[in-house]
């Protein structure tokens, strides 16, 4: 394994762990985005550019946005509940 590979493997282990251990969902979405970026780099180094494209589009852009939007929707639900039940 080259040093670059070793570094990326270690970084991916850390960033994946960070996604799990970040218990606050909004910050987790940010961690997911970063994790996606690290994995995309790792896939690039593993000679998988196609997969890296997928990974970067999906896991560092689309999914974090969907998570944030879902959390925003949940907040609005809460507000709606408060309006319904004064």
């Amino acid at each position: 394994m080259t040093p670059l590979q070793i570094g990326l493997f270690l970084l991916a282990a850390l960033s994946g762990g960070a996604v799990v251990l970040t218990r606050e969902p909004r910050r987790q979405a940010v961690a997911m985005g970063f994790n996606g970026l690290v994995l995309a780099l790792l896939f690039m180094v593993l000679q998988a550019p196609d997969v890296a494209y997928s990974e970067i589009a999906i896991n560092s852009v689309i999914l974090p946005v969907l998570f944030l939007v879902a959390l925003a929707a949940a907040r609005i639900n809460n507000r709606r509940r408060e309006i319904d039940r004064p």
Partner: protein
């Protein structure tokens, strides 16, 4: 109670980690993929199919049937999400965009709006480029479709809710998604009609390196690109609808 759960979880997962690591030790060493499957394709694919991207070739030719199944997973997941979100809000809320009178993002400077539109144009073009060069360079219908689909979210930021809602007709998106899936399966059935096995390529292979080479692969990529873009567009549409403020429609 909670801490007990945490301890048990840590214990179980540590055992699982240990056993999995021990098991994976039985693999060939890292960097020594033994073949033979991938090597056969790398050796014979380019000449046989006039394509240069072997990953696309596997996805849309040698193992095209898998991709058909994957496309239907996407299709079913999007229908499922729509059923869960839209039906609850009431079908009307999505079918009548003209109702949308209020923009949830209050103040947008012209510069931001312009920037978003520019980004939108570039993103969409890039997505289409990625779809069209599937058989040649990294990329294809899945990646390109996802890029185009996420461009629709930029539309929301750049144009504001009413204009975005006016352009994002859920029925059009549904139809596009289904049509993409149908085109893929149609390509398969056409082969049966011609007396060949399902998904056999019937088109000429063209010149290697050209945008219309590799037979039916570009067409399948366009079909997948349309379906994926419409699928992600639908998801963004339904999720962003969920964030609308209570009084602005929806919940009747």
């Amino acid at each position: 109670m909670t801490s007990l759960r945490t301890i048990i979880a840590a214990f179980l997962c540590a055992i699982a980690l240990g056993l999995a690591s021990a098991g994976l030790y039985g693999l060939p060493a890292f960097g020594h993929y033994p073949g033979p499957y991938g090597d056969i394709i790398n050796r014979q694919g380019p000449a046989e199919r006039h394509a240069t991207n072997m990953v696309t070739l596997v996805n849309f030719d040698y193992r095209g049937f898998d991709t058909l199944g994957e496309e239907f997973i996407l299709f079913a997941a999007v229908i499922g999400a729509v059923v869960l979100l839209r039906e609850h809000r009431g079908e009307e809320a999505s079918a009548r965009p003209d109702q949308a009178d209020e923009a949830p993002i209050p103040e947008r400077s012209e510069a931001v709006a312009f920037g978003c539109r520019l980004a939108l144009g570039i993103t969409a073009l890039f997505g289409i480029y990625v779809v069209l060069h599937a058989q040649l360079t990294p990329g294809g219908g899945f990646q390109g479709g996802a890029i185009v689909g996420s461009a629709t979210a930029l539309l929301y930021l750049g144009l504001g809710y009413p204009a975005w809602r006016g352009m994002m007709r859920s029925r059009v998106l549904d139809t596009a998604e289904a049509a993409g899936a149908l085109a893929f399966i149609g390509a398969g059935l056409a082969a049966i009609g011609a007396g060949a096995p399902f998904l056999t390529n019937l088109l000429p292979l063209g010149t290697t390196g050209s945008i219309v080479s590799a037979g039916v692969i570009p067409l399948l990529n366009i079909a997948v690109g349309i379906a994926v873009a419409a699928g992600f567009g639908t998801l963004f549409l339904e999720y962003l609808e969920e964030t609308r403020e209570p009084e602005s429609g929806g919940e009747q």
